[in-house]
Symmetry: C2
Subunit: 66 residues, 2 copies
Amino acid sequence: MKNLIREIRMEMGLTQDEISESLEVSRQTIISLEKGRYNPSLILAFKIAKLFNRSIEEIFDPEEME
Amino acid sequence: MKNLIREIRMEMGLTQDEISESLEVSRQTIISLEKGRYNPSLILAFKIAKLFNRSIEEIFDPEEME
DNA sequence: GTTGAATGTCAAGTAAACTTTACGTACAAT
DNA sequence: ATTGTACGTAAAGTTTACTTGACATTCAAC
């Protein structure tokens, strides 16, 4: 699923490793997420939104969903 | 994860079976969701938000997440 | 030129979301 | 009394999120 994780992360000057620790997931998960390779769980999305101080809707783009 | 799915569904006069079809998931998934038995995927959360015409944050409560 | 930090890939494994089927209960309508 | 609708449980299976570990690449710093 498309998202702005990479952009926001770099804006904040953080590395993949750093946010993987903050979010308590593996760095692989961050890489895959940034590449849009999968659909995170809602809890992970909430954690990311909190870390980035943005709403889920601002970060993730469900694209064509129907 | 806690949520208002049941409340909103009943407010809209829909059955579990009806929304499971709209959301393209099984009725079991709706039952488990309403019971807070798990964490949906972000896509499912987006679909629910769209069906209910509310934001994800209005429907789901991440509770204590840290 | 080599060291270290940051990013990436690949592959195998585990955990959990989600499905399917089968069955139980409650209740309203006939 | 039985039929249909709505809700629930349980158990086994499939799919996919997420982990772990090993290794490759780029680039800036020394």
